[in-house]
Amino acid sequence: MSVLVDHFDVFASGLWLTFQLCLLSAIGALILGTVAAVMRISPIPPLRWVGTAYVTVFRNCPLTIVWFFAAFGLPALGSNADFLRIPGLTSVFSRLGVDIPYFRFAIVALSVYTGAFVCEAIRSGINAVPTGQAEAARAIGLTFTQNLRHVVLPQAWKAAIVPLGSVIIAMIKNSALAGFFGLVGELSNSGVNLTSALGEPIIPVFIGVSIGFLIMTVPLGLLLDHLERRRAVAR
């Protein structure tokens, strides 16, 4: 067990990098997913097709393949995902600005993949709003965008928060794949390194990595259970 004490800094910095990755990807996924959800319910057919195609492709494709495309496809398109070097953000999240692009690829892969699931969670929330609400809004003359902004989305948000939470938990767990796709210093990558390069015993390292992920996922899961129970009572 001494590895947990001796290499505490490795685990801590791994956890911190994983946390950054998850935070940025969650923001990206929420933006992409909301846009896709609005597209999928919009009155304009081509927008709906684009949204549906996006969701179908990324929900049914293994994350591994999405990641391969982010890591091999983006360079082939001549991009190192430099569009993620957002001026203010790079000063807070230093890994965003470095020349080795794997952190940015990881964000792209995770947010694009998770965005599809976010879209479905939001849509399930929208479907949970009683149809009378939207009908009443339409009856008083609100347009499509007003209807969404003032009536449907605020209520859909409440119904969507629990499914959204499970999507984000799944995303945190998926982020462990980053370590196997060249993101050095991430939690799972540090764990693998400790066992293979430094020859540390496997089981303590496994426990350390597990604790790192459980710190992020279990409290979030408990919070969601709590929210779900409270909603069930309120109904």
Partner: protein, 324 residues
């Protein structure tokens, strides 16, 4: 989905139809232009569309075409084998876990008042302890990334002296550990969601607690949760691709080998084809889940009002109109 969509906006008038048409055209143009300038042009400039790269995959006359596809087929067979074994064992262990947790919950309520005080206390402590342990097991394996579980199963088991020979089994164990917990929770929530009268009626008939779970609750939970179980199948199929981390020769690993073996490496083309096959299979599975869900919903309705249900052919036409 459909009904919510139609109430968000009115049936379009001439003006709205014109606006929709104009915006549609603009969107289509934007998508096509984006695809051309951002995807097609850069790829074309690098010669990614040349037949040298695509030939082995799509041209039957290519000399390596049949070899490539034979390897890909082996890879898919390996993927499906792992996925099938994992889903079957997760179903078995997941059901056992769900039954165990339901039984422990029932056991926790019992006071064992017929027994002597020390024995009763010991039994109650034991059942309390077991339910804590099972809860821990569930929370831990539900909260761990599957990649980590698979990776450490594959490296820790040999270290502990358990050598399973084939890498396949490490992958199956890793996938099972995660999915049994998920399936167990799906079934447990299905059983707990059943009307309380089911259990009470079974108990009134004199069935024991285990008999009630096995004969009354579990079959109904399976039925209600069938769509969720099929969706879990999609998840397992996708997660099987993580086998490449422990160098199990599933389709992604095989693709990597193909790419390296070809005279001109073509990762983008091979992964595109493999991804497309994955998408097709999983899309079919999720459609199946939707279909089963609809069938189940219809089944419940007929059970409630047998007389008023129109013939199935009519129902399909009536339903959308009735919902608007």
């Amino acid at each position: 989905m459909k009904d919510q969509q139609t109430v968000l906006y009115d049936a379009p008038g001439p003006r709205a139809r014109r606006v929709t048409l104009i915006v549609s055209v603009i969107v289509v143009l934007a998508v096509v232009a984006g695809a051309y300038f951002l995807v097609y042009r850069p790829l074309d400039e690098q010669g990614q569309f040349s037949m040298d790269l695509w030939g082995p995959l799509i041209d039957p006359d290519n000399e390596v075409f049949s070899q490539v596809w034979a390897r890909l087929r082996d890879g898919f067979v390996a993927t499906l084998t792992a996925a099938a074994l994992a889903i079957v064992s997760s179903l078995i262990f997941g059901t056992a876990l769900a039954v165990l947790r339901i039984q422990l919950k029932a056991l926790n309520k019992r006071k064992f008042s017929g027994l002597a005080a020390p024995a009763a206390i010991a039994l109650r402590t034991l059942s309390w302890f077991l339910s804590i342990v099972s809860r821990f097991f569930v929370e831990i394996f539900r909260g761990l990334p599957v990649v980590i579980t698979i990776f450490f199963v594959a490296s820790a088991l040999p270290e502990l002296g358990v050598d399973l020979g084939d890498i396949l089994w490490y992958l199956v164990i890793g996938l099972t550990l995660y999915n049994m917990v998920v399936i167990g929770e799906i079934l447990r929530s299905g059983m707990e969601g059943l009307p309380g009268g089911q259990r009470e009626a079974a108990e009134a008939m004199g069935l024991s607690s285990f008999q009630t779970t096995r004969m009354i609750l579990l079959p109904q939970a399976f039925r209600i949760m069938l769509p969720a179980l099929i969706s879990q199948l999609v998840v397992v199929l996708k997660d099987t691709s993580l086998g490449f981390i422990i160098s199990y020769e599933e389709v992604l690993r095989v693709s990597g080998q193909i790419i390296q073996a070809l005279p001109e490496p073509n990762p983008i083309q091979v992964y595109a084809v493999v991804g497309a096959i994955y998408i097709l299979v999983n899309y079919a599975l999720s459609k199946l889940a939707e279909y089963v869900q609809r069938r189940l919903a219809r089944g419940r309705k007929t059970a409630a009002l047998p007389a008023e249900q129109p013939p199935a052919a009519l129902a399909a036409e009536i339903e959308p109109a009735a919902k608007v």
